[in-house]
Symmetry: C2
Subunit: 337 residues, 2 copies
């Protein structure tokens, strides 16, 4: 899907605060930017066709082998690569979720089937896509239950996108444990963890055999030299890029409560810093335009997620004062709407 | 193909001069680097999912419509995208040439057939890949003949990679003319033109219908924010990034003559700044290792191009004094070898 995602900031030049992508915008990137400036001569040469040097660093960090990792041009390249490698399979997706899983399936001639609860995962599923924490709902599946399913359903390949794993206090699947299973691929996002969506940096972890199958389809040089350099710097200087997750989570709770209290918005329960809301009256696109035009605040119209309707919107909370501004603006729109 | 390309500089930390990729290394990138530094906050937001703003600038520059252009993560993404969009076709490749055409075909379940002369292009060809100027030989096909073929063979889709179009004085196909044909796709490389292989920036030009077919398979955000920013800057400041092509071409001629005069190396005729040589005695990998270890000079072992053998190597000429150093070092190896 080219159009229709969040963070369409490039279309709204006068935005003050961006709640539309699930990115924590508070991180101070100054040390990273200075490091990239100092590394700028790297643009003059080809980077590694596959960033092995970054694989080594990530593997050490995750306590896995470097053959169990594959860095990609954002999590999106991971998704398309996986869909391409596992064509001609009975594929299920837990919806509503990130649209790229279904799109990646379709361009690879897979017609994915949607399920709306983990209970409904059929026995004949050969491939199962799960976003956990889920985008857009923020829901995290019970980890024990997932591990049990993975062990019970050996004929099913579980593709679990953990792009938001650093934005929940609930247990997600651990990389070093999952590489031992023959039927799990985890997708990770440095984009989200370090709030660098402009650089494009994601990675896959899985057992060696699965990584080998993916490598067959891999194009060389898909991750550019500055993204590789950023990845290496970030993974070795994580302490410079920390954020207060519990503060974010309590802000999310506060915002959700205030909006729910209006009794004009339904709120989905979330385990992370973003959440899904649904207007009882009115359309999300109109709310979005109002907030952008009148207040310079950008939210995500979530009506194009499968299974959702025109009232759905998604918000990733930001600084407290900005969140307050947003809540008040939404309340105002509801009243005048 | 992940390994085996030129510019494997990351494996040779002590290289002084890099002749191994077809990139002119003399350009001064200072203004670009300063511009990127000033634009660094772009890493904090998602870029356009497809860089429409860069499409507009390139289209104006090439005097075509922006719907006739598609910017990709290097020419390599163009190649894989095209192969994916035109699966299940009788596909031919003029060899020896860049390995990625055949690789992109293979991962898309196409078994490409090789031809070694344009005369041998069969009437039943549905897709034909041509690199022009060709990598690794530097040969440029007669433009009139190509235009004639394109018009005669309406059932054949011509995919012509013009990544090196700015490095020859011979006529190549023009973008504004080619978008009028229903059966031509041109691939272009900002990487090569502006010597920025670390940034990854290529683009496709073709008529609207062909671009639309490619867009169906396009993944969002494949070109990162800094690469887009670089592209926009370079296209509007081309005058800051000029090189003396005739000097390069005469250097290539001089180097070729000196090596041919040894009577121990066969030289392929080239129309550009790089050329293909073949050792009559000895192996290219041994010559490459010798030059890298003893002189810090990196050349391309070209033995893995289809149709070539272990004696083949490729050199992209650089500054005069460096070229002289290289010629003398090769002569020394031939004598002691």
């Amino acid at each position: 899907m080219i159009e229709g995602h969040g963070d369409d900031l490039h279309k709204y030049p006068h935005i003050q605060v961006n709640f539309s992508s699930n990115v924590c915008h508070i991180l101070d990137h100054t040390p990273l930017i200075e490091h990239l400036y100092a590394s700028m001569s790297k643009i003059r040469s080809y980077a590694e066709p596959i960033p092995y040097s970054l694989h080594e660093l990530l593997a050490a960090n995750k306590q896995i082998h470097s053959e169990e990792i594959l860095v990609t041009n954002g999590a999106v390249e991971s998704i398309y690569l996986i869909a391409q490698a596992f064509q001609h399979k009975y594929t299920y997706i837990l919806q509503p979720t990130f649209a790229e899983y279904a799109d990646a399936c379709r361009v690879n001639n897979i017609i994915p089937r949607s399920i709306f609860s983990l209970d409904d995962l059929p026995r004949d599923a050969e491939v199962f896509w799960l976003c956990n924490p889920n985008n857009p709902t923020g829901e995290v599946q019970d980890a024990e239950r997932l591990y049990r399913l993975i062990q019970e359903r050996k004929q099913t390949l579980f593709i679990i996108d953990q792009s938001y794993e650093y934005f929940t206090l609930k247990e997600t699947l651990t990389t070093d444990h999952c590489v031992k299973f023959p039927n799990v691929i985890l997708i990770h996002s440095m984009t989200k963890r370090f709030a660098i969506p402009g650089l494009r940096l994601g990675y896959i972890t899985a057992n060696k055999n699965l990584i080998k199958q993916l490598l067959y389809f891999k194009t060389p040089w898909s991750v550019n030299a500055l993204a590789i350099e950023a990845g290496k710097y970030l993974i070795t200087h994580q302490e410079k890029f920390v954020y207060d997750l519990s503060h974010y989570l309590s802000e999310r709770e506060r915002v959700c409560k205030e909006l729910a209290d209006t009794r004009l918005i339904d709120i989905w329960e979330s385990d992370t810093h973003y959440f899904l809301g649904r207007l009882r009256i009115g359309k999300a696109y109109a709310l979005k335009e109002y907030l952008a035009t009148e207040y310079g605040l950008l939210i995500r119209d979530a009506s194009n997620f499968e299974g959702l309707d025109a009232g759905a919107f998604r918000i990733a909370v930001q600084e407290s004062s900005d969140n307050t501004l947003l809540v008040n603006a939404i309340k105002k729109w509801i009243t005048i709407g």
